[in-house]
Symmetry: C2
Subunit: 523 residues, 2 copies
Amino acid sequence: MTRSRLLASCLLLSGACLFTATTGAHAENPRPDRSFSTSDAFDASEIPAYAGSHDAVYARIDADLDAHVAELQRWVRQRSISAQDDGIRDMAGLVADDLRALGFQQVELVETPGHPGVLGHYDAGAERTLVVYMMYDVQPIEDNWRIDDPFAGELVEHELGTVLMARGATNQKGPQRAFLNAVDAIIKAQGQLPVNLYVVAEGEEELGSPNFGAVVAPWADRLREADGAFFPMNIQNPAGEATLNLGVKGIIYFELESRGGAWGGPARAEVHGSLKALVDSPALRLVQAIASMTSPDGNTILIPGYYDAVQAPTVAEQRLVNALALASNDRQQQEALGVSRWIDGDEGRDALVRNLYDPTLNIDGIWSGYTGEGVKTILPHVATAKMDSRLPPGLEPDEAFRMLRAHLDANGFEDIVVRPMSGYPAASTPVDDPLVQASIGVFNKYGTRLRVAPWLAGSAPFHHFTRSLGLPFVFGGLGHGSGAHAPDEYMLVHPAAGVEAAGLAAIEKSYVDMLFALGAMGD
Amino acid sequence: MTRSRLLASCLLLSGACLFTATTGAHAENPRPDRSFSTSDAFDASEIPAYAGSHDAVYARIDADLDAHVAELQRWVRQRSISAQDDGIRDMAGLVADDLRALGFQQVELVETPGHPGVLGHYDAGAERTLVVYMMYDVQPIEDNWRIDDPFAGELVEHELGTVLMARGATNQKGPQRAFLNAVDAIIKAQGQLPVNLYVVAEGEEELGSPNFGAVVAPWADRLREADGAFFPMNIQNPAGEATLNLGVKGIIYFELESRGGAWGGPARAEVHGSLKALVDSPALRLVQAIASMTSPDGNTILIPGYYDAVQAPTVAEQRLVNALALASNDRQQQEALGVSRWIDGDEGRDALVRNLYDPTLNIDGIWSGYTGEGVKTILPHVATAKMDSRLPPGLEPDEAFRMLRAHLDANGFEDIVVRPMSGYPAASTPVDDPLVQASIGVFNKYGTRLRVAPWLAGSAPFHHFTRSLGLPFVFGGLGHGSGAHAPDEYMLVHPAAGVEAAGLAAIEKSYVDMLFALGAMGD
């Protein structure tokens, strides 16, 4: 859930989530000074465009395009709602069968405590090996879908052109099957792939990837020997601009709860509100505990050590941020979000630095007592908040939980329960990594205006690749889609005249180039 | 709602709501020192028992007892759920008809913007005049009622004896009709009442009495000429002990809301939680605003001036509190409530003083964002809390709202909305008032162990009598009932052997005595 939501809002929608700067104005607060040592700006166009041309493969794609569209339709027509265990095992089987049909020599269904994973290995006898991450599950269906059947796989005429409108169209079946179409075209056109491939597919991404470790485990030692990992994704906006995020923040997600007990307060059930003169209030205690964690404006985290663990921007990151600042448009992003200002009125590079390098503390939800109409006077016995904290590289989830607990204890809130629900570290791949350079080279071949960010402000468990497997990791590719998790999810297949985002043929050709570029990586 | 709920929990249930003492331990906090100037304890038994005996009337009651029980049944069988406008006008008509049948010379239905009131006047040509307050409405019905039809008016065998189990049985139709049965018996036995009576009946008590002023208004000048006001009520516990509360605290009830706007935060809808690095959080802002209003333990109000307005305990009140302290049993009350300790571990007189003389600040409910299962990462655009503050005599509702707003503004929370929903001042009648003395005299005639408290920690709009009409006001009487607002509401009619609480005959005889005592008041 977490991951795809942010991908939808931050990656797919014109890359509206990244910004930059030095902090400055807050001298006495615990946020560190993040002055930059360089004002130089990264320029993606300086990286040589991928020079290869694979005309026989491109011709094959053009010839098979209708069949390739039909492959995307076949994937979205197979229901695979992980939250409702609807079609999951059939979809896992479909992925496995497709890999076998493409010529993957080894394909295994991996049982987990949840939904099964799929592992596939295509040994091309090549020097380089790429791990391809896939998710085969989708979100549940909203009541208000724009078409009768979100699993019909319909091609719909849209202001941007012909789109595939369906649950899973862009998140993530469309780009994934487009990638496999590219693999198919290469094999059909010239018999062999330029790289060896591992596919690692899970069916629980929309559930937060709780068993992804178990999916990877059987082949972990083999996967570690690969040269990089890749997640096919539509990252263009309709104007054709792409934002390449080289990582994600980590996250801890937890519930804080205050409940009457030995410390005081009603332990069994609510009591009458007039008893507040004698009875401690769990709701007020929760409010005080949360309040102790931030400045009065709710924006500076007062948990000791919280900011100190964050890694300072490297020179390479500073160059990326300086470039993002040149192109940033705070007002436009604020209008899109319905927000009149960023915190403290920050703009430009200041806002970008805050967004990338500040850990956050956020109330996702809070509830206690009577929440209906009118007047009811009770002293509730329990109060709960759902909270999350985004962790930039350097701030580890275990350490964040430890500091949170220590802060509560040090402030007399020993009785406040912290219930961890999720937690994983940030993941990022340096811009000078050969995998990233190769990937940017392919974008440059297609003349794509590219914004490159060191990471997203959002979170995803990509540490499985960067940390557990020790691989550079790129998620992206040509293509445009929108409405992930929404009732009008689509992927652009045939762009209308004047729409710059790539259509399916161009998307697949760029994946072909990417595979060849990766095969030649470091040569 | 507010009123009857507290009456149910505080008056009807063995008077478990009152306590006492000097504060002491909190030297530097804004709670004033409430040291007592006397250690003398009020002794209700020193007030002479009512000496009159009205044997012809008592005999009439005994002879008519089955018919009197039937009158109670007739009242509860008439539905009158104010919240659902169910039977309201029929019940108002029934009350008016009953008053006429008893001989009230003037009876009027008073239209209001809500449900109608009923005014009745019985001119006995007596020297003294009593205003009798009645509420003819009842709470809605729960799904899990212990009997098939809460409006059947069934007599049920209960461990305490034969009870009338029905919605309205004790809150408040039973004791009110018992009072009218006593009036009927006096008139039948000796032709005339010993006092003139006004009846003021409303049909919106369970809605918070929003139009009670309009019910009283047509006769306000006449009512002001009366000698006192009385509200018939069962205030005995099963063991026969009664708690006579001589007043109530006032209350302000309000919603606090933070919503994204010009100050920051998402104005239109929730945004993704990862945006917290850039976007102000209304939920954190609400939490900080509430937190600013109390000490970290949630128990001392930090709104400047809030405690200062409260009247210090008079010597007469101190004597009442000293007596309550002698009989207080904190542990028993805590066990009944499921609370392991009072605030700061206070007990005995300290706890009683806190309960009576401390204003409160309580969260009745709070909500924002996602409150379902699992993980969802959003930054909600609105956060709301329902809060109430109980006002001891001296702290006026308008002043309390003013101080609250001033505190928020002074702490930079100008954007926090305060939405007043209810507010009225405390009401209390001094123990040495002739009406109270006469009432206690009647309890003493029946050997009732009596706890007398200066007021309840709960709230009710009795200021309509004490302040608007300037009348002493007593609410109470022999009798036991329980389950107001609950699915097993009952009033004890025929106590089992060994049960000390009064049955219907004794209740009615005590009302007879009360009417004669009040008729002779001050003689």
